[in-house]
């Protein structure tokens, strides 16, 4: 679409915001494009039908905010196949939406991660937990908002959690990811196009701290070391617009826990009223350089 030399027509084409719901983030992005006088159309991902080998969509770029990880990946795969710039790319989404893939990519890039063990079958969950030690955290390999995460204190608890997971229908949900449980401060850094933009810390009475579960977000000063670590983590999964979740331990060690490829940023925006987060993302999309 950008290769035909018709740069004027491309610049006039609308941006597509592919989204299942217009939440706070999507509204902020629509407004940011409007302020730039760039038409931005909401497209419901559930309405998309495309032919393999068919023409590219009439959009200069796609901001992919589909809620379902499966649909999100297909939207980005399609866009990439037809040459339409898309955020995030399918490679990035594939690494972010599978926490095993995330941990492997981060470790491969030399980024500190908690000790992590994978059990491919629930029957191996007890052994995997012994390998990690206690307390440990059992996570689903997909999903978010802290759903399905369990903290276990001994082998019996591990086997109970894995027995329940063994009854789940989805083969993906039967995969087990275990990590050492570390006390510390939860940080999230938003990275846009390779640059760390802002950070928050999340506090909650519950050990699963997630603003989607009612944890309070407070602004956190982005020091050079934190920015660099988040930027390296973002690059390790393929780059784009990403939420890097870190744990700062009591001893000051910083570990990267996850990288979110379809990042919610309302908590970050509320904590950083002076930081134009949607504007930064819109500018990155319009720079024509996804990733």
């Amino acid at each position: 679409m950008t290769g035909d030399g018709d740069a004027g027509a491309w610049a006039a084409a609308p941006v597509a915001l592919v989204a299942t719901r217009i939440r706070v983030e999507e509204r902020m992005l629509l407004d940011a494009f409007q302020r730039r006088a760039v038409p931005c159309h909401h497209v419901d991902d559930r309405s998309l039908v495309y032919r393999v080998g068919g023409p590219p969509p009439p959009w200069r770029a796609v901001v992919n905010r589909a809620l379902s990880a499966s649909r999100r990946l297909e939207v980005s795969r399609w866009c990439e196949a037809v040459g339409t710039p898309v955020l995030n790319t399918p490679d990035t989404l594939a690494r972010c939406d599978n926490k095993i893939a995330t941990a492997l990519a981060l470790h491969q890039a030399g980024i500190p991660v908690p000790h992590t063990v994978v059990a491919l079958d629930p029957a191996a969950g007890g052994d995997a937990a012994e390998e990690i030690g206690f307390p440990a955290v059992v996570k689903p390999t997909t999903g978010s908002w802290g759903r399905g995460v369990a903290r276990i204190g001994d082998r019996d608890a591990a086997e109970a959690v894995f027995e329940l997971r063994g009854q789940l229908a989805s083969p993906t949900q039967r995969l087990g990811l275990l990590q050492e449980f570390r006390y510390g401060r939860d940080l999230r850094v938003l990275v846009v196009g390779g640059s760390a933009v802002a950070a928050i810390t999340r506090e909650s009475g519950h050990w699963v701290r997630n603003t989607g579960r009612g944890a309070r977000a407070r602004a956190y000063a982005l020091d050079a070391e934190l920015a660099s670590l988040a930027e390296r983590a973002a690059a390790a999964v393929g780059g784009g617009v990403l939420g890097v979740d870190l744990l700062e331990t009591d001893t000051g060690e910083r570990l990267v826990l996850e990288v979110n490829g379809a990042v919610e940023f309302h908590g970050l925006s509320a904590a950083h009223t002076d930081a134009p987060i949607a504007e930064t993302i819109a500018d990155h999309v319009l720079s024509g350089a996804p990733g």
Partner: protein, 54 residues
């Protein structure tokens, strides 16, 4: 103004509201999806699906 399907409270939609937008009822805090804008129709936003979100 339109009516919250959960609590029957009055919900005022912004002029810019669009289909698929999520609004929150100020009375009962339910998340509501704008199903249509003209005339406005609200429905309870569905629970999460298995592979939703971040």
């Amino acid at each position: 103004m339109t009516v919250c399907p959960e609590c029957q409270g009055q919900v005022s939609l912004p002029d810019t509201a669009m289909a698929a937008e999520i609004v929150v009822c100020e009375d009962c805090s339910s998340e509501l999806e704008v199903v249509a804008v003209d005339p406005p129709v609200l429905a309870l936003a569905p629970e999460v699906e298995e592979d939703w979100g971040e």
